[in-house]
C-alpha cells in the first residue's frame, strides 16, 4: 500500500462526513448504524403491510417509507464521506495472489462471487421447478384436464411473452438498453481515465479547460447510464403491470388490441391459481391451434374430451419468474442508486485520471448485472 499517506491517528473527522482521505480510510461513521436501522424498519414494516398475500395494514406503508428515508439518510452520510475521495488513498494488495491490485477491485470481485451464488440459487430453483412440475402446454395437450377445475402446472413466462412481438418488445428493448448502458459506462471510464494532455489533444480543448470539459462529458456518460437503467425499470413496470398503448398502425398487427398487455392484465401473477389464457382454449381459432398429433386432439376427435378452456394454477411458475427477474431488477435499482451519486459527483468534477478506477469498479458490478441479464433473458423471456 501507499506509504505516502499514513493514517493520522490523532485526526478525528466528523462521523457525519465529509472525510479527509489524505488521512486514510474513514475512522468514524454513522452510516452503518443508521443504514442498519433503516433496513430493519423497512423489513419490519413491509411484513406488516402484506400478510400471506393480502394487504393487512396499509397504514404500515408509512413505516416502509420511514425505513427508506432512514436508509437514504445513511447513504447520504456514506456518500458525504466519499464525495471528497480523489484517489489519494488507494491501498494495494501485497503478496500472492492479488499482488499490486487495488483492494477495492479485489473486494468487488469477491463480492461478485457471492452474487454468482445468489443467481445460481435462483436458477437452481427455476430448473428444479421447471423440470419437476408438468409444463402447462404439455398438460393441455395431454387432455388430462377438465374445464372448470384448476390443474397445477408450470407456465413459463416465456410461453406468454415469446408468443407475440408485442409482449416481447419491452424485454427486448431492455436487453438493448442494458448493453448500451454497459457501453456508456466504459465510455465514462475511458473519458475520466485519459490523461489531461491526451484529453486536450483528443477533444481539441485548452489544457486549462480540460477539467470542466471532462466533468461535463463524464457526467453525461454516467447520466446516460442512469437514464438507461431508469428506462430498464420503467419498461419492466410496463411489462409487468402497466401495459402500453400501441400506436394506431400497429394495432392491426396486435390482433386488434390497442395496447401491449401487461403480464398482470393477462392474469400472469403470483396469485394466479385459476389462470386462463386463449392458448389453452380449444375453441381459440376454431381449434386450429391444437396439434393433430396430440392426445387432446385425438380425444376430442373421439369425443372423449369435451374441450373448453383449461384453468391452471401457475403460481409457482409465476413466482420463479417474478422473483428472479425481480432480483435482477433490484440489482439494477441498486446500480441506479450508485449511479445517481456518481453522476452527481461527476457533475461536480469529482472524476479525473487519479480516481477514474472508481468508475471501473462500479462498472464491474454494472457489467455483472448485464451478464446476468444475458442469462435471464433467454431463459425467462425466450424459452
Amino acid at each position: 500500500m501507499s506509504d505516502d499517506h499514513d493514517h493520522d491517528y490523532d485526526h478525528h473527522p466528523s462521523p457525519w462526513g465529509p472525510h479527509d482521505w489524505s488521512h486514510g480510510a474513514p475512522h468514524n461513521s454513522f452510516a452503518p448504524l443508521v443504514m442498519s436501522i433503516g433496513i430493519g424498519i423497512f423489513l419490519y414494516a413491509l411484513a406488516s403491510v402484506f400478510v400471506g398475500g393480502e394487504v393487512a395494514n396499509l397504514g404500515a406503508l408509512s413505516g416502509v417509507m420511514l425505513g427508506i428515508i432512514v436508509i437514504t439518510i445513511g447513504l447520504l452520510i456514506w456518500w458525504r464521506q466519499d464525495m471528497s475521495f480523489d484517489g489519494t488513498y488507494e491501498p494495494k494488495a501485497t503478496g500472492a495472489p492479488f499482488r499490486n491490485i487495488d483492494l477495492r477491485k479485489i473486494a468487488m470481485w469477491v463480492f461478485l462471487m457471492s452474487e454468482m451464488m445468489v443467481f445460481t440459487s435462483l436458477f437452481s430453483t427455476y430448473i428444479r421447478y421447471r423440470l419437476g412440475i408438468p409444463n402447462c402446454e404439455e398438460v393441455f395437450l395431454s387432455g388430462e384436464w377438465i374445464e372448470g377445475t384448476s390443474v397445477v402446472c408450470f407456465e413459463p413466462a416465456a410461453h406468454l411473452i415469446a408468443s407475440s412481438w408485442f409482449h416481447l418488445a419491452p424485454g427486448a428493448a431492455n436487453t438493448f438498453a442494458l448493453i448500451i448502458s454497459s457501453f456508456t459506462i466504459v465510455l465514462a471510464l475511458k473519458t475520466a481515465k485519459m490523461s489531461n494532455k491526451k484529453y486536450a489533444d483528443r477533444y481539441e480543448v485548452e489544457l486549462s479547460d480540460v477539467h470542466s470539459h471532462r466533468s461535463r462529458k463524464v457526467a453525461m456518460f454516467l447520466g446516460s447510464t442512469l437514464f438507461l437503467a431508469t428506462l430498464f425499470l420503467t419498461l419492466k413496470m410496463i411489462e409487468w403491470f402497466v401495459g402500453f398503448p400501441t400506436p394506431g398502425p400497429l394495432t392491426e398487427l396486435n390482433h386488434g388490441h390497442s395496447e401491449i398487455a401487461s403480464l398482470y392484465s393477462e392474469g400472469y401473477t403470483i396469485h394466479a391459481s385459476a389462470y386462463q389464457h386463449h392458448a389453452y382454449d380449444t375453441a381459440y381459432h376454431g381449434g386450429h391451434e391444437i396439434p393433430h398429433d396430440s392426445a387432446l386432439y385425438s380425444m376430442m376427435q373421439a369425443g372423449t374430451h369435451p374441450g373448453g378452456i383449461m384453468m391452471a394454477d401457475i403460481r409457482v411458475g409465476a413466482s420463479t419468474f417474478f422473483v428472479t427477474t425481480g432480483t435482477h431488477g433490484m440489482h439494477v435499482l441498486g446500480g441506479m442508486i450508485g449511479l445517481s451519486y456518481m453522476t452527481f459527483k461527476g457533475l461536480r468534477g469529482g472524476y479525473g485520471p487519479s480516481n477514474a478506477v472508481s468508475i471501473e469498479y462500479f462498472g464491474l458490478y454494472w457489467h455483472f448485472v448485464d451478464l446476468v441479464w444475458v442469462l435471464v433473458f433467454p431463459f425467462f423471456y425466450l424459452f
Partner: protein, 109 residues
C-alpha cells in the same frame, strides 16, 4: 482499461456492436418458428459468446496485467455452482425405495 484494439478499432466500440448484433439475432431466432431444440441451441450458442464478450472486454478479464488472476477469481465458484445446479436443480424428490440398482449392494458383484 484496454490497451489493445480489435481490427484497429476501439475494443469497447467493437464489443458493443458485436453484442447488439448477437442480441438482435437472439430475439429474431425466437420470432421465427424453428422448433424448441433449434431455438434452444441458438439461444445457448449466443448466450455463451455474449457472456464471454462482456466479461473479457467490458470487465477487463482480457488484456490487463491483472486479467489472468481475476479470471481465476471469477471462475473460483464454478465448482460450487456445478454442485448446486446438480444437487438442487437437477434432482427430483422420490421415495427411498426408488433407489436405483447401481446404488444397491450386490449390483457390482
Amino acid at each position: 482499461m484496454a490497451h489493445y484494439t480489435i481490427l484497429g478499432k476501439d475494443p469497447y466500440w467493437m464489443n458493443f456492436w458485436g453484442l447488439m448484433i448477437l442480441t438482435a439475432i437472439e430475439v429474431g431466432a425466437v420470432g421465427v418458428e424453428l422448433g424448441d431444440t433449434i431455438t434452444m441451441s441458438i439461444l445457448i450458442g449466443i448466450a455463451i459468446p455474449k457472456f464471454i464478450m462482456i466479461a473479457a472486454i467490458f470487465m477487463h478479464l482480457y488484456g490487463d496485467a491483472d486479467s489472468k488472476i481475476l479470471t481465476m477469481t471469477a471462475l473460483f465458484p464454478a465448482f460450487f455452482i456445478i454442485v448446486m445446479v446438480f444437487f438442487i436443480g437437477l434432482t427430483s424428490p422420490g421415495a427411498a425405495t426408488e433407489l436405483p440398482a447401481w446404488c444397491r449392494p450386490g449390483y457390482w458383484t
